[in-house]
Symmetry: C2
Subunit: 650 residues, 2 copies
């Protein structure tokens, strides 16, 4: 491998930031001894990094957890919600903390026959269909989940999550905890990271989320219509802004490199992405050739002004305006749309401290975390800072494979060390002092083993101004031997850590069906949900018992039904073989938790209707016969008797 000793800005790379130095110094570092062996072994042998278990530290001395200390007794409620993206399972999950109990699965990009997600007309409309009415996608790879902000903290209105596999962003309305919109983003592949803004970049009266920013990882032909398929040197990636309310794509920015994570400033003015492969290479060796890549900052106000001024282009069929945010096109700080702050090669994560002052960026090929001052990035855009690299105020060496950083609101950062299988706690101000030259300072203040290979780690309220430093969760990629064996496919591990004291304490291991990608931990009192919906929010509601009926228009049959325990509004539905049948069901029960199900034998129809809600299905009556409709969701003492007959006459 050829190492270029310059970064993206042409600045010579300091010797102590290079890859060779990483290997050399870390081999000496006693703290990382076992981890390094593991990390290097992973590159050289057929054994993965995960094979060497780290020594468990839980239960020793200052880390001891008292019996029952974090128990949530029967009937008691958890104190935090955790909203988690579920990776290639395509859903979003809600857990309670500290119990670790799964409170809900929210189907998003996946099908869910219980809810009827992907079965009802309403969910199919959200998911998107092909011209023949079948679903366009039934897979997805949810990578991150973030909530909407007001005044720098969660407002319990929306969650957003992204699909890396099919380039989509989905929104979840938090009152019902259901997906209500999905947008496919044009001309992106490997849509990896998202983050909502926290206030408007221009209008300071708008102190809530209005935009969601999306980072795309993979370069692809622009447009991807068959041209340039054999010339990856012409491919590039786009950074995208989606409107938080309409869910329309507002604009895109052409960038150098591949983006993973996104972070946004509290003033609404900056979005940041970690950028690897700023070399724009298409082979692995090319992607890792430069010693430095970048943390890129987007000046949102300028991007939108440039679009207003007509300085944009479009790609293929897409009408979305695109501006040029590449490094070469943004050399003048005073007009630049983007600022490329050089960081050690192949960064993977970027996170903002709760006080808004520092972005922390790191990646597995350097044992460091790069601390970038928000204020200095602003200075660069104002023409008051010569070199973007001067926005870096610290770069502590923290361990092997640093990926993502969480914060406790007391000045400490917690970074997941993928190769070391640890969470390392380090003090930001100490790291800054050390970077300034104070050799007496040791930024790392604690480290704890996790099991095994953590990806994301996140603290309670840690991505808000209300970071409370109580709990930290590590989403681990391998469980290996931590749980009873269940065959070749292993469950993964989420580990809950108490971060209130000087020493981190491992509370317990939860399991996570692959995969526990990323999550946010939200204080229970912040979340406001509605347990009974308003019938008027469903435009197709069958509002009166008198409206139960079957209407025929040619060979289209429309069935309007109510459900009220223990009966459906119609005891029998008669149609003709070959009819296209639309059945609309409104649940008239008003009591919390009194959800009904609606399944038709042999017709592959199954969905639920929560109290006061309405859902519908459309299908072809392609089999003659008599088929029972029954309530599939336990509703009432006479639940088993809740049935109707679907008669398809020859």
């Amino acid at each position: 491998m050829d190492h270029k000793e310059t970064d993206i800005s042409g600045t010579p790379v300091l010797p102590d930031q290079g890859r060779r130095n990483f290997l050399e110094t870390t081999a000496k570092a006693t703290l990382a001894g076992a981890g390094l062996a593991m990390g290097l072994a992973a590159c050289k042998s057929d054994k993965p990094a995960a094979t060497a278990p780290a020594k468990a530290a839980e239960g020793d001395g200052a880390r001891a957890v008292a019996p029952g200390e974090f128990d949530v007794h029967p009937g008691k409620l958890d104190s935090y919600y955790i909203f988690s993206s579920a990776g290639h399972n395509g859903e979003v999950r809600i857990y309670g903390l500290p119990s670790g109990r799964t409170l809900k699965r929210i189907p998003v990009f996946n099908l869910d026959p219980m809810v009827g997600w992907g079965i009802t007309n309403e969910s199919k409309k959200i998911m998107g269909t092909k011209p023949d009415g079948t679903l366009k996608y039934t897979t997805g790879d949810t990578h991150h989940v973030h909530g909407s902000y007001t005044d720098g903290t969660y407002d319990s209105k929306y969650l957003w999550t992204n699909d890396k596999l099919n380039g989509r962003i989905a929104r979840i309305r938090m009152d019902r905890m259901e997906c209500d919109a999905i947008t496919e983003i044009p001309n992106v592949q490997g849509f990896h990271g998202i983050f909502p803004d926290k206030r408007d970049p221009v209008d300071s009266n708008i102190n809530h989320t209005t935009r969601v920013f999306c980072g795309a990882e993979f370069h692809s032909p622009q447009p991807n219509d068959g041209r340039d398929v054999n010339d990856p040197t012409k491919w590039f990636a786009l950074f995208t802004c989606v409107d938080a309310e309409s869910m329309d794509v507002r604009w895109q920015v052409k960038v150098d490199g591949n983006m993973d994570l996104v972070a946004t400033s509290y003033d609404g003015k900056l979005a940041a992405t970690n950028q690897y492969n700023t070399e724009n290479g298409y082979l692995l060796a090319d992607m890792m050739s430069a010693e430095r890549d970048a943390c890129v900052f987007f000046n949102i106000e300028r991007v939108e002004a440039a679009i207003k001024a007509g300085k944009s282009f479009t790609i293929g069929d897409s009408k979305v305006p695109v501006v040029d945010g590449t490094h070469a096109a943004n050399q003048d700080p005073k007009t630049a749309l983007t600022c490329y702050v050089p960081v050690p090669k192949n960064p993977h994560g970027v996170n903002l401290s709760p006080d808004g002052k520092y972005f922390v960026c790191s990646g597995k090929l350097s044992p460091t975390a790069t601390v970038i001052a928000t204020e200095l990035v602003h200075k660069w855009f104002a023409g008051e800072l010569k070199d973007p690299r001067d926005a870096v105020v610290a770069e502590p060496e923290i361990g092997l494979g640093p990926l993502h950083t969480a914060f406790d609101g007391r000045g400490n950062a917690y970074t997941s060390l993928f190769l070391d299988s640890q969470i390392v706690k380090w003090n930001v101000e100490k790291a800054i002092a050390q970077y300034k030259g104070d050799k007496s300072v040791q930024p790392v203040v604690d480290r704890i083993d996790v099991h095994y290979q953590p990806g994301h780690t996140y603290a309670s309220m840690g991505e808000t101004k209300e970071a409370d430093g109580k709990f930290l969760n590590a989403g681990n990629k391998f469980s290996k031997d931590r749980f009873l064996p269940v065959g070749p496919l292993h469950v993964e591990t989420e580990q809950l850590i108490d971060i209130t004291g000087d020493k981190m304490r491992l509370i317990h291991d939860h399991t996570a069906y692959p995969e526990p990608h990323d999550a946010i931990i939200v204080r229970a009192d912040v979340v406001k949900t509605k347990q009974v919906s308003d019938m008027n929010d469903f435009p197709n509601a069958v509002k009166s018992m008198d409206d139960n009926r079957v209407e025929r228009h040619g060979n289209k049959v429309f069935v309007y039904m109510t459900s009220q325990a223990p009966n459906y509004g119609l005891a029998e539905i008669k149609v003709k073989h070959g009819d296209e049948v639309t059945i609309t069901v409104t649940n008239h029960d008003k009591v919390e938790d009194l959800t009904h199900g609606f399944g038709i034998e042999k017709y592959n129809v199954n969905f639920i209707i929560n109290p006061q809600e309405t859902h519908s299905v459309t299908f072809k009556a392609d089999k003659p016969g008599a088929f029972w409709i029954y309530c599939t969701h336990f509703c009432h003492a006479l639940h088993l008797e809740m049935r109707s007959r679907f008669i398809v006459e020859k």
Copy 2:
């Protein structure tokens, strides 16, 4: 409602078993006071039974659980597996006990984009496809799960589960914990209960499971081809036997009534189902008109002999032999295929005690459990017992809404009381003594509140000869206020109860994504799984790195690929727009837990390949362009770099 005061056999019903008496006596019963009010309210108002929370009993006096008493510390393993059917979610789940952690979801009747269930060719073949290659069903309603037996206990070979919605039985191989076969049963609707046999009814050398019995609940036209759709009086239900190994349907029995649960004797000779609506009514009032229904026993040896003797018929296109097991056709005990033992109206559950001596049958319309002696049923079939009702040896009054019964192996039964929201513990021998006339005996020895409305309840190893009386789980249909709110759709509750002492002790509440239907609790040492598969078990394996290639046959393209961290065997796959592409991937990694993913951007392809396994997908290259293939399942330090390009040329 008109009450007939006779049971199915014409025997006058004893006054103390009638519905009217049920309402009268239970209103007086102090033990059931609150529950009754709740139960009756459910029938009269729009408030469901679930609205009145039972008073929590946990933590009081003898029921107190010490802090941390049942903790499973980080890194420690659970002592039991729980295999649970997941209702209308269509999957089977594995939990660990006592932690309550979800160890695995096994996709069965549902799609799972993480595993690729319903996406890979191999899983589609198991699930079943339409002539156009799309899946026949994507929904299901798993009701029960039971394991294969050897010598009266679990042998860790197979699990079976059933789909009430589309009439299918599925098998899970326990070494890999994956579904390996699904059979659609002809001419059944509302396929509610299953149970494997425990030894052969004829050949006593065969002391393991060879058959699985299936109870169908709903009457339907036979055949269901459009005839008789308007005359439900002609409809009937079938009891079915499926071969445990071939998964072929062996035979069916025409019966009176609607079946829910199935149980089997340890000698292999009897299968039992609870039968409601022996009136064969098709309106609710008709279904509940008789004061008694039946627990029906099938004499397996005789059924199979009758088929061998040609005394069978077939229905419609089905080739499965059917024999007549209706009550009217089986009046002579010495030749009868079935024995209808009268039990109070509308029974819902039937379970066998671990000593094999007693079947316990009960249902929500009587506050009793009916204890039927296995030995006396055999006597009836031998012509040595005049009245089938004489096989009843006890019928204790235990509370409101008794559904399912578990056993501790120490002579105690634990019945879920749906209306009372309780588990009641009662002693079987005391109940028999009471039934014989000893008025000094009180069979009920303890009761504990559960939250709320339990359906199934099951004890550790309770359905085997090794019942150990350690844990009991209650699968509750409503959680109401037990967990943090998550919108209109509530999670449900599983409650773990310690049954080692005189008093039941509530250990904790787990959550269950709807729904926690039924489950078995299996000692951890019983379960043997394989963490790394044998490549030779996959006939389409790409066995050598040299076999990586693309083959074209006309417009069909076959891609053979290996995966070995951190690379796929081909960095690029080129096809033409419009090709039918089959991609076969073999994972060459041998390390436990080193599963790879395989996703193609925008092509709705996503699946995993566990170590040494092979899976394939077939799809049409319907979009020109370049599309990234990436590893969706975290595999290795260079996981994020594990990619290939799928190039579709115009």
